[in-house]
Structure formats: structure tokens, C-alpha cells
């Protein structure tokens, strides 16, 4: 069964057993926990999960408790992809020796710190070697579990504990690394961006990533109430706003050919539906300093960056079609 023929209903997905169970100790309203739950609902059979150090590793396996109902391996910050490569190679060897007869999927979960910064070379190597696994980046845009330090995934202007907004600096002075584009540049068979606000889209993309032969990369936008400083009940609302303002457009790229997902396609066809970026920024405390007066140029800069990346994406899609 391929992703194009796999038609699932909400009921079917809801009734699928939870492989990432209740009782994990993520903060109330955690976006990454939602992402993991939804992705584990897209599995098609026996699955092995490896997890880089990060929020989801810490909260799901506090000794002696584990929230995983699949074989799960914790690995260091930098080598989730290397670990996944090893698992996949071992499975291949076991098949060759006749010790394994079924197909087993491998998923690597890592946060933005473990992907943008620390795990990038392991990921790049694994993709270049062409191992068959799905790499999921749950992006909460900073090192959240160690106390909100900025990472390569933190957006421009965001205040974190290591890029605090004050008299000298107005939050992070650098841009967010376009990580999914970097993965597409590896000529990876499948790369996509997804958001927890659109679960059907996310589940479908995770399934596609598992079904594709070779490596697949999924960049999942997962807001963090603690680090982004908003009320716990706004997680999904903020994730949706990120897509509606084109801060985080949804697309997929097969063999380097980009195509927009429905939620972003609507905005491409009807540009008047694109909301101003301030709608998104003002929902979060980490951007609060931009609205106190004297930072209008920063707001304009952020809008310019978003517009530039959005038009670059549209250009790539036009070139691909």
C-alpha cells in the first residue's frame, strides 16, 4: 500500500494503538509530544525508533518509566542519524542471513538542536549513504529542555536566554537556517515540512516518508508554550498562524522537485489570504520586545525575510513544474 492509495479516516487513526503513550512528562500543551503521537500513528508495521537527546527523549523515558511501545534507543545529541543508519544496516544484514523475514521501519527523532546544530553532519552523511529511514525533526526553535538557549533553528528577533532582548540586542540577530532546503540539496528522495496544526497532512507525509525507498526527512513545526511564552492552550492556534502567515509554509519535495501542500497552495493562489507576520509574532512572549516601540524596523525586517523566502519557494515550485 502506498501513500497515494492509503486513505485513512479520522476514526481509523484515533483507534490505532498509541505507540507513544500517555504518562510521558512533557509540559502541558507540548507541541512536540503532539507531533510524535501523530507520527507514530502513521507507522505501517514493526518500527524501531531512535531518539537524539532532547526534550522528547527526556520526557518519554524517565527511569524506570518509558512511554514507548516500540523498540527505542536513546543516542547522543549528535548521532540520531548515524544510529538509524546502523539499525538499518543491521536489519539488512539480518535479512541477508535469513534471520529476518519481515520489513522493519526505522525512525529517528531529533529536535532542532540535534538537527540544525549538533547532528547535522551525521544526518548529512546518512542521507548521502542512502540508508532507508525516516528522520523527523520536531522543531521547537531553541534548546528547550536545558532552558531555552538559542539554536540554529531559532528565528530572527526571538528572545531566548542566550539571545536575550535588551538595550543592545533585540533578540537573536541571525536568521533561521533553512534546514529542509539543505536536505533537498542532498537530492534526498523525500523531504517535507509539516505542522501539528494539520494532522492529516502530517500523518500522510510521515507515511510517505516511511514508504519511500531511501532516506526521508520531515520537518515538523512544534510550538513550545514554555519557551515561546504563550498560554498552553494556544499551541495549535500558533502553529496554524505560522502557516497562514507563510512563516512556516508547508511543502514536500520528491527527488528535489518541490510542490506545495494544500494549506500553503491556497495562499499561493489567493495571495490576499496571506496574513501579516505580526499576527503570528504578537501571540508569543518571545517577540514581545518588538511591540514595545522602537523596534518597528525589526518587524519590517521579519516581514521582508518571510516574503523573500516565500517568493523563493514559489519560484522553485514554478521551476519544478
Amino acid at each position: 500500500m502506498t501513500a497515494t492509495t492509503w486513505k485513512f479516516t479520522a476514526k481509523e487513526i484515533v483507534e490505532k494503538p498509541e505507540l507513544f503513550t500517555s504518562g510521558h512528562r512533557a509540559c502541558a500543551g507540548c507541541g512536540s509530544a503532539i507531533a510524535l503521537r501523530q507520527i507514530m500513528k502513521a507507522t505501517r508495521g514493526p518500527t524501531i525508533v531512535t531518539n537524539a537527546t532532547g526534550c522528547m527523549e527526556v520526557v518519554s523515558t524517565i527511569y524506570p518509566y518509558t512511554a514507548w511501545k516500540v523498540p527505542w534507543i536513546h543516542t547522543a545529541f549528535e548521532n540520531a542519524a548515524a544510529n538509524a543508519s546502523g539499525i538499518e544496516a543491521a536489519l539488512k544484514a539480518m535479512k541477508k542471513k535469513g534471520k529476518l523475514h519481515e520489513s522493519v521501519d526505522v525512525i529517528a527523532f531529533a529536535g532542532d538542536g540535534g538537527t540544525f546544530d549538533i547532528g547535522l553532519q551525521a544526518l548529512s552523511g546518512a542521507v548521502e549513504r542512502g540508508h532507508d529511514f525516516l528522520y523527523v525533526l520536531y522543531d521547537n526553535e531553541a534548546y528547550m529542555n536545558t532552558g531555552i538557549q538559542r539554536s540554529g533553528g531559532t528565528p530572527y528577533g526571538a528572545s531566548t536566554t542566550t539571545s536575550p532582548a535588551g538595550k543592545v540586542l533585540l533578540g537573536k540577530a541571525q536568521l533561521k537556517k533553512p534546514i529542509a532546503d539543505i536536505m533537498v540539496a542532498h537530492e534526498i528522495p523525500y523531504a517535507a515540512t509539516a505542522s501539528i496544526a494539520y494532522w492529516q497532512d502530517l500523518v500522510r507525509k510521515a507515511r510517505k516518508g516511511l514508504e519511500v525507498e531511501g532516506p526521508a526527512f520531515l520537518h515538523v513545526f512544534s510550538p513550545c508554550p514554555r519557551g515561546w511564552r504563550y498560554e498552553t492552550n494556544k499551541t495549535i492556534e500558533i502553529a496554524r498562524l505560522a502557516t497562514e502567515t507563510c512563516v512556516f509554509p508547508l511543502w514536500e519535495a520528491k527527488e528535489g522537485d518541490y510542490s506545495l501542500s494544500p494549506q500553503s497552495k491556497i495562499i499561493a493562489m489567493k495571495p490576499e489570504r496571506k496574513k501579516p507576520v505580526t499576527d503570528y509574532l504578537k501571540t508569543q512572549g518571545r517577540f514581545r520586545h518588538l511591540f514595545k516601540g522602537g523596534a518597528e524596523h525589526m518587524l519590517q525586517d521579519i516581514q521582508k525575510i518571510v516574503d523573500k523566502r516565500w517568493s523563493r519557494l514559489l519560484r522553485r515550485i514554478r521551476e519544478g513544474s
Partner: protein, 95 residues
């Protein structure tokens, strides 16, 4: 909680976690509690899909969603997103 001294022989090899997290109830973190009005429910199951704690389940026979208060941390995402406004957050009565 009683704390008993354990030697290294009592710890599983590689420190493997052996207890399911479902034995650890996170429900007592809650300040606000979701309350469900079944007559307003559109049965879209969105709440179940976006619950970070897998604490909302669909009951096939009764055709309602059920909350598992052992695990619900009271984040309120379900109440905020529900298209029929069938979920309301109320403050837990203090014990």
C-alpha cells in the same frame, strides 16, 4: 515515596526502562479541567488527534469522546480548538 537502596546488580543492563509510563499519572498537574458537552460535539475527533497526552478517546458504543483524567494535564488545547465549542475548561475544585 519510599526510597530503598539498590545496588548496581538490581539495575537492568544498559539502564533499560522497564515500567510503562501509563503507571505514572500526570493528571495531578492539572489546574483546569476539560468538561465535555456531548450535545454540542460534531464528532470530528480533532480533540483526540491534537491531545499531547493521548488522554481523549473515542467511545464507539456511546458515540462520545471520553477524557482520561489520570493523564490530562489540563493544557486546554482541545477546548481552544473544538469547532463546536463542546469542551470547556473549569478550575479544579481544590482538594
Amino acid at each position: 515515596m519510599t526510597r530503598e537502596t539498590k545496588s548496581w546488580q538490581d539495575i537492568p543492563i544498559a539502564g533499560v526502562c522497564w515500567k510503562p509510563a501509563t503507571e505514572y499519572h500526570t493528571g495531578d498537574w492539572r489546574t483546569f479541567k476539560p468538561v465535555y458537552a456531548s450535545e454540542k460535539c460534531k464528532k470530528c475527533l480533532l480533540c483526540s488527534m491534537i491531545c499531547p497526552d493521548a488522554a481523549i478517546k473515542w467511545n464507539e458504543t456511546k458515540e462520545v469522546v471520553e477524557f482520561n483524567y489520570d493523564f490530562c494535564k489540563g493544557c486546554g488545547i482541545c477546548a481552544n480548538e473544538c469547532p463546536g465549542r463542546a469542551i470547556q475548561m473549569i478550575r479544579e475544585s481544590g482538594e
